[in-house]
């Protein structure tokens, strides 16, 4: 039987816990959304107890453990703890990026981030500089100095953690991956699990 390199790469990424999207792996994403391929991949990984899952905004695919064993539970816990530890920094970062957007729109997969735009916006608004300092501190990016250096370090951090994919060789322009979509799903899980009220819930309570 001949080996399909895209199928192989796709399965490998899913096993490694990567998020497949149009930004991070356009070829594999294109392969996956083509007729029949999704089912083939899903059937294949199901035989080793994994499901092909999709982020709620339908922008990314990832592998998930169908029926976790006690060993799997430990790894789930460890992944959760990993997110939980960096959660505050990520929430602060998302809030800062929302403030930077012209319509206060939260960051989404496929959004383009330019280093120069971020630096200019932060230099123009002292409140954003404070937010940037808080973000770098909480995410332990540990870059002292001017905003420019901090923004560069932050973008590198996000690239390293696969939230951003560089769009040019100089690393001045980035595109958001569907790892943000997964993060939103994780935030929603935490919000529900910890019963943290949303604005709409608060409004409902006020009505009563």
């Amino acid at each position: 039987m001949s080996c399909n390199p895209l199928f192989k790469e796709c399965v490998e990424k899913l096993l490694l816990g990567k998020v497949i999207c149009e930004t991070s792996s356009p070829d594999i994403f294109g392969f996956l959304v083509m007729n029949g391929n999704k089912k083939d991949v899903s059937d294949y990984i199901q035989r080793i107890g994994l499901d092909l899952s999709m982020t709620k905004d339908m922008k990314g695919y990832y592998g998930s453990i169908a029926e976790p064993s006690s060993g799997d539970k430990k790894s789930i816990r460890s992944r959760f703890d990993h997110v939980a530890k960096s959660l505050e920094g990520l929430v602060l970062l998302m809030r800062m990026l929302k403030s930077l957007s012209p319509r206060s729109r939260p960051i989404n997969a496929m959004d383009v981030l330019k280093e120069s735009t971020l630096i200019k916006a932060i230099e123009d608004a002292p409140s954003l500089e404070g937010q940037l300092n808080e973000v770098t501190l909480k995410l332990k990016i540990g870059k002292s100095g001017q905003s420019k250096a901090k923004v560069s370090a932050l973008l590198k951090y996000l690239e390293q953690h696969e939230y951003l994919a560089p769009q040019d060789k100089n690393g001045l322009q980035y595109k958001a991956t569907a790892k943000w979509s997964l993060l939103y799903d994780q935030l929603e899980f935490i919000q529900k699990n910890e019963s943290i009220p949303l604005k709409e819930d608060t409004n409902q309570e006020e009505l009563f």
Partner: protein, 408 residues
């Protein structure tokens, strides 16, 4: 009373009370309060069959036909025909066409004229209903639900409009030239009515509806994105606010619930991280060629990278190298092995006992090294007492001559 008299009476009522009837239709959905002030109006409307009296209520409702007439003639708002109404009008038209063809076959001239008129009216009514409905959708698209403030209600309304537009498109798709040509069956009057007037209108309406449907879907998808963004934004704000109030907050996942949660919504954390590794099967001849090529590749790469001096390699397989332990280390090992619970030994006495030919200070150093290599638990169980003399002039130094090791 004849039908003509009924018609005259109704028109008279409308004419006499045109002001309150128009006001009621345009401002209160056709409702009139049945009180002494409106006594004559209510009586006249009910008598002329232009309104309905609700049981036990002091309200009289002007009927739909009358309301539609007022709304139609005032053009104050576009009448919203439904695809169902259009299908009904089409069904009536088909019925009239069938009876017209029957009348023609029987050469009943007067009946032919009756059905010609009915067909003509039916075609114009259907055309008008189609135009009204298409214009209604065009208005919705242009307006973009600006009269609704809540984004989720906007989305529901947009879904409802898409459903209505789909139904209308389905009705329009059945009104084809071939369908109406077959229905006309070569009759010039029917050809003129159905193909010349109706199909022409249907073609134009279909084109407009394609555009409206497309824009409705665009608007729907934009609304969905807006709702998604709003939800994400709310999530960020909620967690940010939570951290402001609880700065030490760290979320916790109850692992015992994980299985249940995984099937529900903890999927986003149940992500595998499987290490992928493979080794070649050296017994498989099929892989031998590939492995040889890889090996040659590695050799040539390393040869290109650096020029290494060739070293003769001797086969040392099977050669045994014997190593010996220094007697002083061996002595220290015995010393710590002998130091069991409750025992206490002098280092200098042990040196003599073990008959080691070593200087006392080297032996003491060796034992101290051995002590520091013990793990923390073992170290805690050993008490050291230093024996020695201080310098005559106090400088904090103690010249150790012996150490007592006591196992607690």
């Amino acid at each position: 009373m004849s039908r003509l008299d009924d018609a005259r009476a109704s028109i008279n009522v409308l004419s006499r009370y045109i002001q309150p009837i128009t006001d009621a239709c345009l401002t209160s959905g056709g409702q009139i309060i049945d009180d002494s002030h409106n006594e004559d109006l209510v009586k006249a409307l009910l008598k002329a069959n232009l309104a309905i009296q609700f049981d036990g209520e002091q309200i009289v409702q002007i009927n739909k036909k009358t309301r539609d007439l007022i709304l139609h003639v005032t053009r104050s708002y576009r009448q919203k025909s439904s695809s169902g109404e259009i299908a009904d009008l089409e069904e009536n038209l088909r019925g009239a066409i069938k009876l017209y063809q029957d009348a023609k076959r029987k050469s009943s001239i007067s009946d032919i004229e009756v059905y010609r008129l009915e067909i003509k009216t039916g075609v114009y009514e259907l055309r008008e209903a189609l135009v009204d409905m298409v214009q209604h959708f065009a208005f919705i698209v242009q307006n973009d639900f600006s009269n609704i403030s809540d984004i989720e209600i906007k989305l529901s309304e947009s879904e409802r409009c898409i459903k209505k537009a789909t139904s209308l498109n389905e009705v329009l798709s059945t009104m084809t030239i071939s369908e109406f040509s077959d229905l006309a069956a070569g009759d010039l009057f029917l050809e003129d009515m159905l193909v010349g007037i109706l199909v022409k209108a249907v073609v134009k309406c279909s084109r407009d509806m394609v555009d409206s449907s497309h824009r409705l879907r665009e608007s729907h998808s934009r609304l969905q994105k807006d709702i998604e963004s709003l939800h994400k934004s709310d999530l960020i704000d909620a967690l940010y606010a939570h951290y402001q109030v609880n700065p030490s907050f760290i979320p916790v996942l109850d692992v015992s619930d994980t299985e249940e949660n995984t099937q529900d919504n903890a999927t986003c954390f149940s992500i595998p991280a499987i290490k992928i590794a493979s080794v070649p099967n050296i017994n498989d001849e099929a892989q031998a060629e590939t492995l040889s090529e890889l090996l040659i590749g590695i050799h040539s790469e390393s040869a290109e990278d650096e020029e290494e001096e060739l070293v003769e390699i001797k086969d040392s397989t099977g050669t045994m190298i014997e190593s010996t332990i220094d007697p002083i280390d061996q002595g220290a090992m015995y010393f710590f092995e002998a130091l069991t619970s409750g025992q206490s030994y002098s280092a200098i006495n042990a040196l003599k006992e073990l008959d080691l030919k070593e200087q006392p200070d080297i032996w003491l150093n060796c034992l101290m090294n051995g002590y520091y290599e013990l793990n923390d638990d073992q170290k805690e169980k050993v008490e050291l007492t230093y024996i020695g003399e201080r310098d005559r002039q106090f400088n904090g130094n103690l010249n150790v001559t012996d150490i007592i090791f006591k196992h607690l």
